[in-house]
Subunit: 148 residues, 2 copies
Amino acid sequence: MSTKNRAVLHETFVHLIRRFIAGSILYNQQVADQVGLRLTDMQCMNVLEMLGRATPGQLAKSTGLTTGGVTVMLDRLEKAAYIRRVPNPKDRRSVLIEIRPEKMKSVQGFYEEINKNLDAFLAETPETDLRTVVRFFTRMNTLRTGGA
Amino acid sequence: MSTKNRAVLHETFVHLIRRFIAGSILYNQQVADQVGLRLTDMQCMNVLEMLGRATPGQLAKSTGLTTGGVTVMLDRLEKAAYIRRVPNPKDRRSVLIEIRPEKMKSVQGFYEEINKNLDAFLAETPETDLRTVVRFFTRMNTLRTGGA
DNA sequence: TCTAAGTATCTTATAAAATAAGATACTTAG
DNA sequence: CTAAGTATCTTATTTTATAAGATACTTAGA
């Protein structure tokens, strides 16, 4: 096990990361089911939480929906009080979408168990390892488009 | 940057991983669009590729669909020659789903660019780092359900 | 063995969501 | 000032997912 050669190590990593991605998609799907949203809506909420605010156009790009599809999704989320549309001061054709703070908390609540597990795991991870992983993932996040 | 304290490091990691997950969902969505499938179908294909074979029931669990939904999805994928249903020798109520090998390759082709980037990145990652990351992700993959 | 409960998949009617094509309103370059 | 470009929205249609229940098989227990 500690004498794994490079090719096997590489293969092991690819397998682990694919498993991680498949698991993440499933987990987000399950959280969405509990919350009463679709995975697409969940992705939208997650992106909004990371960006703070976004235009419908940005959300179309980060969900893979058409702009028409985004409008319908936003109507749905607005009606259910998850988000709010505010005028975009930079462009009068456009709007900015923001999460309604009370829903932000409520949605986060559904990730509570996994976050607790993650916190516990990180707490017992040696700092040097965590630093290595952070460095590694900083690069991983640039692989997809050359830097989105 | 090298004097980051523990809390900040922790927070940085959580941010990176959330970004990675959101990016992965988007990327899989985009590949699905190119292939002409839905994200759900893509998730099904990915799970099948990892497991080799699976029953519709297992696929229901790993996609978040109802069993009826899985049947419809499998009809769709079977009609488009992505998968095939074979009898389950262990249980006559059940079937086993397998990817048709020619489609396996074709779908993998759409991941080619990212795989190339990933290979190049891994090649220049020090072996000790890669070992740390593998160890780390082996644990990460157990956090979700306590071990799926 | 026989039966009842449980499990695995499938069927179908209905509800929900995504797309495509195009409209409206605004912005920007020339 | 005008034309081209951009951002969002509208709506009809297609596609997908759900829910409720049917069918066929398995398994545990009398």
